[in-house]
């Protein structure tokens, strides 16, 4: 049995009215609710992705003591809309030698991989679209479509820069998936579940209940996860697939207009998704620091804003890192993954397992302060 937004809404009185119209257990009603919430999710995610480009430019301007975009809308906030319209009006150029089918398909694969992860994103205790029993595992699995999109985008362009960027991108994304998976595995070990809802509920209460403070190994796992996730989303200092000073623009060199826009949109939404996942797995997710009945509907919006707030803070860290650290060299990139992050992640996993057995599943805070 999965906890979904439909089964959450069903406990309210206004739902009886809906079931009278559509009939009990109507598929149409379920589909409609899912559709409405999905469209809302996509709209919010696209806005966050768009604002992400704005935030990137504004924060980089701040770090470099410039003004940044400030013409369109108040403080330049509507810049992303202007950029979107501009992208639609740009001429769509495809190289004559390109593989046309794959050239079309690559941005779609990126979008598919990112949007499919939104379905399990734990935004609040009720509004999560679906809380799958294999949620975390599913999220890791389906997001690998992005890597495929990056590789195919690089291949299909039939340009040397794109090809190099695509190869690098694919090998980087699959390599860094290992430490990320192992870190998530440590959390699964501590919580005994792969469902985002259960993992978040276990962290309810004060800040010491967060899994990041559960034990020293979990703290390390958080850092490994975050670094790995930054590399998986091709963010600086791991942005080798699109290293502009050596590969022109990497895998999307030949992409113009709307198709380039899809790549950028997918990338910025993915950064938000991995930040939200980090917040949900390690930083307590949507939980308020005190106990409150979740039956009251507006609480859902409070929970929503808590999770989005935490995710945006991590988003800020990601952007901050981009404008602070120099880019890694490609062989260093691989040795960071295989010789540092993966062994550390395995060490964390073993550490968490030993901790669980040694202290009977109690967290550090429980050991120090008692219950």
């Amino acid at each position: 049995m999965n906890q979904t937004v439909v089964s959450f809404l069903a406990q309210y009185e206004f739902f009886d009215f809906l079931t009278k119209i559509f009939g009990e257990n109507s598929l149409l009603l379920t589909t409609l609710i899912f559709l409405i919430f999905s469209v809302a999710f996509v709209a919010v995610a696209a806005t966050i992705g768009g604002l992400g480009t704005y935030a990137e430019r504004k924060i980089s301007a701040d770090i470099q003591m410039r003004m940044g975009p400030n013409r369109v809308g108040p403080y330049g906030l509507l810049q992303f809309l202007a950029d979107g319209v501009k992208m639609m009006m740009k001429e769509d150029i495809m190289p004559r030698t390109a593989d046309k089918f794959l050239f079309y398909l690559a941005p779609l694969l990126c979008l598919l991989g990112v949007f499919a992860t939104l379905a399990v994103l734990p935004v609040s205790s009720g509004f999560t679209l679906t809380d799958l029993n294999v949620g975390v595992f599913y999220l890791i699995a389906i997001s690998s479509l992005v890597g495929l999109g990056v590789f195919l985008g690089g291949y299909a362009s039939n340009s040397k820069w794109s090809m190099l960027g695509g190869m690098r991108g694919a090998s980087q994304i699959i390599s860094y998936e290992i430490p990320v998976t192992l870190s998530v595995l440590a959390i699964t070990l501590l919580s005994g579940s792969m469902s985002f809802g259960k993992i978040t509920d276990l962290q309810a209460g004060f800040i010491t209940n967060w899994f990041v403070f559960h034990n020293p190994f979990a703290f390390l796992a958080f850092i490994v996860y975050f670094v790995g996730a930054m590399a998986e989303t091709n963010r600086a200092p791991f942005d080798l697939p699109e290293a502009e000073s050596e590969l022109v623009s990497g895998y999307h060199t030949e992409y113009t207009g709307m198709r380039f826009g899809f790549f950028a949109l997918a990338e910025y939404i993915e950064v938000f998704v991995v930040s939200a996942v980090a917040a949900a797995l390690f930083l307590g997710g949507y939980n308020l620091p005190f106990h409150i009945s979740i039956d009251f509907l507006p609480i859902q919006f409070v929970q929503l804003s808590i999770l989005v707030g935490k995710a945006l803070m991590l988003y800020y860290v990601v952007i901050w890192a981009r404008w602070t650290f120099p880019r890694l060299r490609v062989d260093h990139l691989m040795s960071v993954c295989w010789k540092y992050l993966t062994p550390i992640a395995i060490f964390n996993l073993v550490g968490c397992a030993v901790w669980m057995v040694a202290f009977n599943g109690q967290s550090l805070a429980q050991l120090i302060f008692g219950h």
């Binding site: 999965n2 639609m88 009006m89 794109s162 699959i174 595995l185 030949e254 057995v357």
Partner: protein, 153 residues
Amino acid sequence: MTTTQIDGLMPIVIMMAAAVVLFFGGHFASVILSPKKPTPQKDTAYECGEEAVGSAWSAFNVRFYVVGLIFIIFDVESVLMFPVATVFSEMVKEGHGLFILTEFLIFIGILVTGIIYCWKKGDLDWVRSYQVSARRNQPAVAVKAKEVKKASA
């Protein structure tokens, strides 16, 4: 009203459909709004303003393939470990903690042996292991001269 396990998968299908709709909608808007003035120069692959030479589709280094292979092995390993990790805390509470820990450690230990082997043999290096053969193919005068010096000293 509750949703069954299978209905819980509906958002995934809807989200994927949303991606497809957005993709084609964006393309449609782009087709309507954007100009279409292709020229022979515009349609070539970008090579920093020079005329594009040859195709980019050439044979790539085997190291990418090796990374892919090692990745799949770790992938399968994590797939096997996820269900075990799910029941881990349950087993600890039931009092079978040491049993499952031993089992888990043996499983990871065998794989760590493999990683250590690959590390020692230089298979995890991005550059070095593939230059060994190049160096060996050369007459390797410099290396030999050093060895000779060491031997004589």
